[in-house]
């Protein structure tokens, strides 16, 4: 049995176990056991992958396996990972693990909540291990649809509206994707769905011209590409804590990953043709997201717009198409995933105590809940790119890589995008100053308590990862950079 398949099998077993679980303790037990197992598996996979690479494995993907599924259409269940997917699997398992603890006290219908949550994570893991277009797309949709119920049932605020908007926009994106996938499949000869095999072939230029934008838009909707990002602030603001974490932390990465792996890798000529057009859109995403975050007063909205800005940066860096910038893009995916999950976890915990997320009604929380407040400061600093934390490494790589393009157009885009760093500092420092320091706004808040043990587990885990990535980025960036190479080689041709 291929090791990668366990990433799908474990969630499916968890679903079964949750279905028969009788009380909340059993549910929690299943979730902790399952998510720890997934975490251990992905750590093991990372170590083993690095060992294999050092031992001289040169194939583009390792651990490949393929089982024929729908023979008449040459659909296979085929798996394989390179450095990029390994990193993404690691990220996903960390977030699923911490998300479990972040929703420890969730009520009502805990069991149903975790059922959908696990289904979502099965989709995410499946997506990252797949190398077959059909299977990949299937897992992609499996990851999207539970979101509707997770937000609709357990969310807050205008949850029904947000859930519907999010689902329909993302499903609209996947309608684009599906036709793009059919285009790739039949364009490449109609006898294989395997990405690695299609990459060896040449899809007719005219087809690339049509289907590249469809696929890029399809994934771009999930990657919060301007002007299709509008689902993200509403969705994130209404979702329950762990769902925001998983969504901003992992699900939005599916967009970037798909753009890179499917759109750009398989259709390099299309990427060349449409690159500049999308680059303008992503630059707008980066700056517009940051500016929007400045004027928000709801903590979740601030972070949601900040996510738009940072995920925009991922697509921006990918479209810069240099080896350094693409490495930076993947690093940014990783870093943003971790820190935004940390952010949403903390916001959820603060909201659970103060019952407000409006920064105008909060203040002086540092004295009241020092643990959460310090966590919030660290997350903020990582977000604005303080050296020593993950954000710095990623953004530095992105901008250095982008600047390697020496024509005026790319330079201008880079410079415009760089301003987002300053704007990020504005909204982060403003929020931190407002809610953590200064006068306590509401005397009721003085009675509040600091984090409980399950919350501490989640927060400490994430802080350790953010700091770890910031302090020792090289092994990750080597891992990524190696795997970016073949894709860049195709794009440069």
């Amino acid at each position: 049995m291929n090791i990668l398949s366990f990433f799908v099998i474990i969630p499916i077993l968890m679903l079964g176990a949750l279905w028969v679980a009788r009380n909340i303790n059993q549910v929690r037990g299943v979730m902790v056991a399952g998510s720890s197992l997934l975490l251990a598996l992905s750590v093991y996979l990372t170590i083993d992958y690095i060992a294999l690479r050092q031992a001289g494995a040169t194939a583009e993907m390792l651990y490949t396996a393929s089982i024929s599924w729908y023979e008449p259409l040459n659909i296979c269940y085929s798996v394989g990972v390179d450095g990029i997917s390994v990193v993404m699997l690691l990220l996903s398992s960390i977030i699923v693990f911490t998300g479990t603890f972040a929703s420890w006290q969730l009520k009502p219908m805990t069991k149903e909540y975790f059922l959908w949550f696990t289904l979502l994570s099965a989709g995410v893991f499946g997506f990252f291990i797949s190398t077959d277009l059909f299977t990949m797309f299937m897992f992609y949709e499996v990851a999207l649809i539970p979101m509707y119920l997770l937000i609709g049932v357990w969310g807050s605020g205008k949850k029904e509206y947000a859930a519907m908007k999010l689902t329909l926009m993302l499903m609209g994106g996947s309608a684009f994707l599906l036709i793009g996938i059919l285009g790739i499949f039949y364009g490449a000869g109609g006898d294989t769905m395997n990405i690695l095999e299609i990459a060896q072939r040449h899809i007719p230029t005219q087809m690339q011209e049509w289907f590249f934008p469809l696929i890029f838009l399809g994934f771009g909707v999930l990657g919060a590409l301007f002007p299709f990002h509008t689902w993200s602030p509403d969705g994130h603001a209404s979702a329950p804590t762990a769902v925001s974490m998983l969504h901003a932390g992992v699900l939005m990465k599916l967009g970037g990953y798909g753009c890179f792996r499917v759109a750009m890798y398989l259709m390099p000529e299309g990427a060349e043709m449409w690159g500049n057009f999308f680059l303008v859109l992503t630059t707008i995403s980066v700056v517009y997201g940051a500016f929007s975050a400045v004027v928000q007063t709801d903590l979740k909205y601030i972070n949601a717009y900040s996510s738009v800005s940072h995920c925009g940066l991922v697509l921006f860096a990918l479209l810069m198409m240099t080896r350094t910038s693409c490495t930076g893009a993947i690093l940014q995916m990783l870093s943003h995933g971790l820190m935004t999950a940390l952010f949403f976890a903390l916001i959820g915990m603060i909201y659970g105590r103060t019952h407000t997320r409006d920064i105008r009604f909060m203040g002086g929380l540092m004295k009241i809940m020092p643990f959460l407040a310090v966590g919030y400061v660290i997350a903020g600093l990582a977000n604005l790119g303080l050296p020593g934390l993950s954000g710095f490494v990623a953004e530095m790589t992105v901008f250095v890589g982008s600047f390697q393009n020496d024509d005026t157009f790319h330079r201008i885009c880079t410079i415009v995008a760089t301003t987002s760093i300053v704007i990020t500092a504005v909204y982060i420092l403003r929020t931190v100053g407002k809610i953590l320091y200064g006068q306590v706004q509401n005397p009721e808040h003085l009675k509040l308590t600091d984090a409980t043990w399950d919350e501490r587990v989640a927060v400490i885990c994430l802080i350790a990862c953010v700091a770890g990535l910031g302090m020792a980025p090289f092994w990750v960036s080597d891992l990524i950079s190696e795997s970016v190479e073949p894709i860049i080689a195709v794009l440069m041709k």
């Binding site: 299937m138 519907m164 499903m171 599906l178 285009g183």
Partner: protein, 473 residues
């Protein structure tokens, strides 16, 4: 030809035997053992299904009757769907006002099924027309079955009028074909087709008649009223079985008979498909009564099925039949839940009545959710695969734009399917439908449907078998 060879029409003969047995049972069983008809009819159909499970090719009467392996598979699928409908009908047939006509329900349903069998395996336009009429006329009786209740009689009248009108159109088209070619055998017509104006007219008339049966836009106007007025179990039957037979016949006749004129009909079909899917979807959004809602949903589903016809290839044929199987289990699951709720709440059918259903009847709500997800084409449920395959088939025949519009429409359809899911899971309700237990047959039926929804997609064998069978359809 000797008389014994008539026995090779074993599927039709078997069904006629079932029909006669049920008829005799209804006639001669004493009053108190009359309820036995329900299990007898269902079991006999199961026997008929199992006995004819292996597909084969039969040509009789010089090609007038031509049952391809694919047709034989399709007939089995229709039988399976009918069995599921029978399993759902128990509660309704036990009711005070329908109890005395239990036998009639089975007899009428079986006779429409016989008609559909002949439609599916016709090799001659007259046999096809005969089958079509046999499928339509008893159907009107079925729709008007609850004739003193609600709009049942009105719906029956509407149905029979539009059915007759469409039959008229179709006959007119057939007469033109005979006029220009001089034969009505499917196998002889293609050679005589040259695309002259009269033949195009024949095609248009014939297709319009068929479009009535399939309730394609702009011939869909009877659908919502008939679906709403008919007893729920009959609606279920109408929405899957008769639609399935008509779709299969459409594919066979358009491709096999009108194949040489494919450039003419593909354009027409593209427009009809786009209109059907879009209008079906847009109207479905506004419906609050579930049966009307399912009527429009099934109109748009018919559009998706026709994508496979548009493809016109063996791949399209396999996708069409696969789509039908998946559609039958998913749609019957939805109708099962609707019928069950209607029966136990004395007629609640509004979407608002379903608010909070998950709180009181979690299992039913779950079944409904899975079925709606499957209809909307969400993986890992079977509907996703069936939609993908019809899209792939049409895409492979280069109908990019039609596929694209159909795909965008799946988002609209997701919206209205989610409205029901939202009602069941999210919208709070002071007085939700009280908890109840469905009867065993209904439960078994829903279990079969759910198993189908989950397994038909993940287990790829069904599609592979269909693909192999469809090579020569």
């Amino acid at each position: 030809m000797d008389y014994i060879s008539i026995l090779s029409m074993h599927q039709e003969l078997g069904l006629i035997a079932v029909f006669l047995l049920v008829f005799l049972a209804d006639l001669f069983l004493p009053e108190r053992s009359r309820p036995l008809i329900r299990p007898i009819a269902t079991l006999l159909l199961v026997v008929q299904l199992v006995g004819n499970i292996i597909p084969d090719e039969v040509i009789l009467f010089g090609g007038m009757y031509h049952s391809t392996p694919m047709a034989s598979v399709m007939k089995n699928i229709l039988t399976l769907g009918t069995i599921l409908v029978f399993m759902q009908s128990n509660d309704w047939l036990k009711r005070e006002d329908t109890r005395h006509k239990t036998g009639e329900f089975y007899i009428l349903t079986l006779s429409t099924l016989i008609g559909m069998f002949f439609m599916v395996s016709a090799g001659h336009f007259l046999l096809f027309f005969l089958g079509l009429e046999l499928a339509s006329v008893p159907m009107a009786c079925l729709i008007a079955f609850d004739k003193y209740k609600g709009h049942s009689a009105e719906a029956g009248a509407k149905f029979i009028l539009s059915a007759l009108f469409s039959s008229g159109l179709m006959l007119y088209g057939i007469s033109m074909i005979y006029g220009t070619i001089g034969t009505l055998y499917f196998q002889d017509i293609p050679a005589g087709l040259n695309g002259n104006a009269l033949q195009i007219l024949a095609l248009v008339f014939f297709f319009s008649g068929l479009a009535f049966k399939l309730s394609l836009v702009p011939f869909h106007l009877w659908t919502a009223d008939a679906y709403q007025g008919a007893p729920t179990n009959v609606t279920a039957y109408l929405s899957v079985i008769s639609k399935g037979a008509a779709a299969f016949a459409a594919m066979v006749i358009l491709v096999r008979v009108f194949g040489p004129m494919s450039s003419e009909w593909s354009q027409m079909l593209s427009i009809v498909i786009v209109a059907t899917i879009t209008i079906g979807n847009l109207f479905a959004i506004r419906q609050t009564q579930l049966k009307r809602f399912m009527a429009f949903s099934s109109i748009s589903q018919a559009g998706y099925i026709l994508l496979a016809v548009l493809a016109g290839t063996p791949q399209g044929m396999a996708s069409l039949v696969y789509y039908m199987v998946v559609y039958i289990v998913a749609n019957l699951a939805v109708f099962g839940v609707i019928a069950s709720v209607e029966h136990h709440t004395h007629g609640k059918l509004e979407r608002a009545d379903y608010n909070g259903l998950y709180q009181t009847n979690p299992k039913l709500a779950m079944v409904m959710t899975l079925a709606l997800f499957s209809l909307a084409g969400i993986p890992p449920f079977a509907g996703f695969f069936s939609k993908f395959f019809v899209f792939a088939a049409a895409f492979n025949s280069s109908y990019y734009l039609v596929v694209f519009i159909a795909l965008v429409n799946t988002v609209i359809s997701l919206y209205y399917y989610l409205l029901i899911i939202k009602a069941m899971f999210i919208t709070p309700n002071e007085q939700p439908i009280p908890t109840f237990n469905s009867d065993n047959a209904m439960r078994a039926c829903l279990m079969i449907c759910v198993a189908g929804i989950i397994l038909l997609g993940i287990v790829s064998n069904v599609y592979s078998v269909l693909s192999d069978t469809a090579v020569k359809f």
